[in-house]
Subunit: 387 residues, 2 copies
């Protein structure tokens, strides 16, 4: 991996996925003078709006992915639900794809991901494959409640997850997910949800962003607090886990590791994402190098940037709700912008829906508590209106 | 002006001019969720690359400018060499243009600009209209040498300016510029070139960015040092001049005031730009709100953002040279990115030429001196190669 050639601007970067992550990646790449092509089925996708070019095609369109690779010098992706075989084929034809198709394959199937981590001696919640309804019932007996029933692939923002707290939940959980390959995971009674963004380049160098604390509601990230309020021993432990994960994956890129801290102070890895992550959006304003610029640096063979935290901060997501669906506008943005060190990001999505991520706000302040208070206060001001 | 309605995202912003200023304006607007349309004759212009839409038409195409206004909720511009009559016509049809056509007209003709400033009691170098060659010779007798012969409109980056130091320079100066309306200005023997970016919104509120020092070579900005090394008395004086200028213009927008500090410590206004300015690029990383976001806030009726300086810094321009012309790539960018707190901006221009502005670098450090050393050192690393 050491012989990666450096791609000088205006080299061409291909991104699979035109959502908000692709958009912020594109903005970082454009600032640095690169040419960016997006692959996304929706014309005028959030990323397509700011890219040089968009190929409007399905993510399962092999010809379109090949075309993206042909048009660009390096390909990356903003989400993991891509056909890994297809990426593998592109790679074998000599096109550069980072992180690799192997990494994608290892991560996108959660059973495979957990097996890999477990085999490497990394702390994951106890987990089992579920073959069918009978198998599920049997395993529940062995396992005890509560448990998480999960689809092995395709899940995100809580879709594909079901917590079974009582025996009476089993039918609903199984029926909701039974069309997929399933796994069962011990439910961790956590005191904190933590995550860390890490980056590894072609020389094998690793940079760690600070450990952050996340608040989810209905399985959707609502708040990221930076830095997490944890002791030094735990911080060191998490970074050592992160390093081990990168060694196990043996790949380049930006990764997010989501973890649970349980009541006994133990850490369990919940999930790895092989890409920039919602819990790393704060890096745009609060770190010397954002997670997006970091990934562009890595895939172009440029040196890693500093991950130094410049200020405590809090990020809150701006989500759609169940009262407005379809085309929309905002109200009250002037109240957000009236506050100091409040940074507004709106993704330009053409329609809203309940729980859809429409944007985020990052608030910098002297301490996390003040930043959080301000963030929640300004979030209250934002109204979504039908257009 | 107080009744300006607030344009909530995803309202539509039109920008006349697709160069680097338009590009950075667009990036700020896209981050905030606005829809951006660029008017520029060159398809794939620096701003067009990151905008939702580009109208490829000449700046003198009245129908195209009307179309831009029709497609958007508010129009602004990144440079002042636009037909003010045309903008005036658009305004009279009820379209929103900021800063106004009147301001543009007052500023784009330098004789008119200086007259306005002089009438308001503001310090400008002595200046006269030049009617013809005989008039020039006569005025030189009255005025003494050295002087600046200038075209009243259309000049930028030193184009349209000629310093007459000796009588023998007169013929060359006159012949170079005689096709234009001309003016003569006393040449100020300056010790420092200073500038300040200022912003005024619809409520009449004013925000001042710090005073900065600029180094030009061959009439092109090379270095901006932030903040300028000047005493408090001078800082206050400059802000009071800035305030008076905004009162005189009685308009909204982001403006740059370029000034000379002469050997006696007196300030003379050199030029006003009714738009973000090269000497304000540093605001992207070094201030809470960039000059670009500030203009977007103003024209959408949003409140002004803080202009607080977060760190001393130095900005250096990346310029084309006389050895490479046309399509190009860079070399050595990895050496730029290897240094901490060095922020690279490349504009994606399709071709290079001698002295063309291809990008800039902003370096943050503990003090201006260290930032300057680092900036000049990294600039040395960048090579431009034909493609």
């Amino acid at each position: 991996m050491n012989n990666k050639r450096v791609l000088q601007p205006p080299a061409r970067i291909g991104i699979i996925g035109g959502g908000q992550l692709g958009r912020m990646l594109t903005m970082a790449a454009k600032r640095m003078g690169y040419f960016v092509v997006i692959l996304d089925p929706n014309v005028g996708s959030p990323a397509g709006q700011v890219a040089d070019k968009q190929i409007a095609a399905s993510f399962s369109d092999r010809q379109a992915i090949r075309r993206l690779a042909e048009l660009t010098d390096v390909v990356t992706y903003e989400f993991e639900h891509i056909d890994a075989d297809m990426l593998c084929e592109i790679e074998s034809e000599g096109y550069a794809v980072y992180p690799s198709a192997t990494t994608l394959r290892n991560i996108q199937d959660k059973y495979r991901q957990k097996t890999l981590l477990s085999n490497a001696g990394l702390p994951v919640p106890a987990f089992y494959r579920v073959k069918n309804r009978e198998d599920l019932m049997q395993k529940l007996e062995d396992f005890g409640l509560p448990v998480m029933l999960k689809t092995c692939s395709g899940g995100y923002d809580g879709k594909g997850n079901f917590v079974i707290r009582e025996k009476s939940d089993v039918e609903a959980a199984y029926n909701a997910l039974k069309k997929n390959d399933l796994m069962l995971e011990k439910y961790i009674e956590f005191t904190k949800e933590l995550s860390i963004i890490i980056a590894r380049d072609f020389s094998g160098e690793i940079k760690y962003y600070p450990v952050v604390e996340n608040i989810h509601k209905d399985n959707i990230l609502r708040i990221t607090k930076v830095p997490a309020y944890i002791d030094d021993v735990l911080e060191v432990k998490i970074k050592s886990i992160a390093q081990k994960i990168l060694k196990t994956l043996n790949d380049v890129g930006v990764f997010c590791i989501e973890m649970f801290l349980d009541t006994r102070g133990d850490i369990y890895i919940n999930e790895i994402a092989p890409r920039p992550h919602n819990s790393g959006h704060y890096t745009i304003e609060a770190c010397v190098t954002s997670q997006f610029e970091q990934l562009i640096r890595i895939i172009t063979g440029m040196p890693l940037g500093s991950t130094e935290l410049l200020s405590p901060c809090v990020m809150v997501n701006i989500l759609g709700n169940d009262t407005v669906c379809g085309r929309y506008t905002f109200e009250g943005i002037e109240n957000v912008l009236a506050k100091e060190k409040v940074y507004l990001h709106l993704y330009g999505k053409s329609s809203t829906a309940n729980m859809r991520k429409l944007g985020h706000i990052t608030v910098l302040d002297d301490c996390v508590k003040k930043a959080e208070e301000k963030a929640l206060q300004v979030l209250e001001n934002i109204k979504i209106k039908p257009l």
